[in-house]
Symmetry: C2
Amino acid sequence: MMQLNVSLGERSYPIFIGHGLLSDGAVLRGCLQAQDLLLVSNTTVGPLYAELLTAALPDRRIVDVRLPDGEQYKTLEYVSRVLDVLVANRFGRDCTVLALGGGVVGDMAGFSAACYQRGVAFAQLPTTLLAQVDSSVGGKTGVNHPGGKNLIGAFHQPVAVFSDTATLATLPPRELRAGLAEVIKYALIFDAVFLDWLEAHAAELLALQPEALAHAIRRSCELKADVVRRDEREAGDRALLNLGHTFGHAIEAATGYTQWLHGEAVATGMLIAADMSARLGLLSDALVSRVRDLLRRFDLPVQAPRIGAQRAFDYMGVDKKVKAGRIRLVLLENLGAARFTADYSNDALQATLAAHFG
Amino acid sequence: MMQLNVSLGERSYPIFIGHGLLSDGAVLRGCLQAQDLLLVSNTTVGPLYAELLTAALPDRRIVDVRLPDGEQYKTLEYVSRVLDVLVANRFGRDCTVLALGGGVVGDMAGFSAACYQRGVAFAQLPTTLLAQVDSSVGGKTGVNHPGGKNLIGAFHQPVAVFSDTATLATLPPRELRAGLAEVIKYALIFDAVFLDWLEAHAAELLALQPEALAHAIRRSCELKADVVRRDEREAGDRALLNLGHTFGHAIEAATGYTQWLHGEAVATGMLIAADMSARLGLLSDALVSRVRDLLRRFDLPVQAPRIGAQRAFDYMGVDKKVKAGRIRLVLLENLGAARFTADYSNDALQATLAAHFG
């Protein structure tokens, strides 16, 4: 088992990474002192792992809530149902909410914890690679709105994250690849050496080779924890993590959040961002090709849906990265180096959108 | 015009108290830099003051939202509607939400601001005495749940509070008295000298004498700001502000949040807390009588509804002040001195409930 620490003053918390953590009562009990636990999962993950976890914490009162599985249920309405369960069971301020599942469960359980009695503790038990390397680290919680993704939410840090790599065995291969897209993202933004390593170990990762997975998760969490520590409230560097997300949001919103997995949209979004960086003279065409080849090696999509440049632009406009009406974007200056900026030509943006969405 | 400062590090903010502040463009512009403003009010206050405020800020884009008037609309559903307006108008992270109205508007506008894009700025423009002395100071925002009051919410500090005493001229007398109940509360908890002053100036306050009102608001805000500064997240001293609230919540919940004003329930709740303190030997019977007389002088209710002790106890149980199943209460050690404790005999609590609710 490995342990990392996310340093955020009084909101610091540990991340544990290991095989079989969900049934490791000693590790779980070390960080979860509450008597009353609300276990939030969904109808896919709950049947696989809820019993294991409950058995590892026999001395606690655990109330089990299972949400329907899917991003389309990440709404205020379902958060409201989770809150109903907390109230109905008379949970006090000293309870802890456990998020067992992927990013959707984590976002909803975390936002429920943030809102219940103006904030109770929560812990993440991510069971997808995406959640293990991304959404379980950093304290972002929330739900979607018909007008845009993650428009409603809160910053609420977990008290601990337990990433059990054994759970990846039950993950559909397509979701594994979507998680690897986020791993690639960290490398593209921060770490060219890690990018080389990913190019060399694609086959092992896709084959779920345990040591390769553990290394990829650990390095991703380190890179994310480091940027969250520097910029908890997303005023600066943390915005770099949105590489590929603004274009990706347009893909997800245009397709109703149902056809593309988040990581798939981010993968294509990163390629679009790389292409736009090349159009602005920041990145060579050869490096854009290297990004495309890497995504293909991980069997990730590289072509956005042909929804038209104007519609893509409209969907980008409701994104949170708008500052005084101007869309700010994360662009690449090199592989392993990114910038967040509103300083680009509109012609380059329009040409990029036309090439990928037109 | 007076100015106080609530010292909370990077979340510090000013409170302005004065006659005619809502039309004082210079003061408003000094604290409200955002171009996009969402003006949240209700169908009672909006028609009285929204135009005044809009005229004072002619260079801004102001979107006007008017909620139905009443505590029964303080729900997640109506917060969801406010969020819909923010999304529909494509407000970015740099917008500011303005709360123009009483505590209900402040709670809902503040919680909407806390949730929108994981937190945007908001400012309070309280138009009731209760909101001016209580809910606009301290950063508590949120909504009710059928299972209990304020069970859903966030701590979100305003960027500024503008308390215009001229607005009290349009306040129904019953609401003025409910606000004075909270003023009495600060005196009972913290300041015996202020309590003497209130006993001596009851007539002037009820007659809306401007200097008396300004003194009462200023001293109340000072006392509240001081305790919020010491304990922003309500881990300690801030809980003292709940004097009368646990008993008061039972009154409000049992009557569906419609028959009693919050301040009225708190008034009766404070008398019940004083009575229980006397039963525990903390306070003399003479001081309990002094509390009762003072409340009567302000024409505030001193008799709880006869809902029965058991029902009152049940409603207290879902209150946020439960710690590991035990109800903690604010009790009086003297006039001007309170304690927050779970160290009391159940017999005294049951006798108190039987005497007031039985």
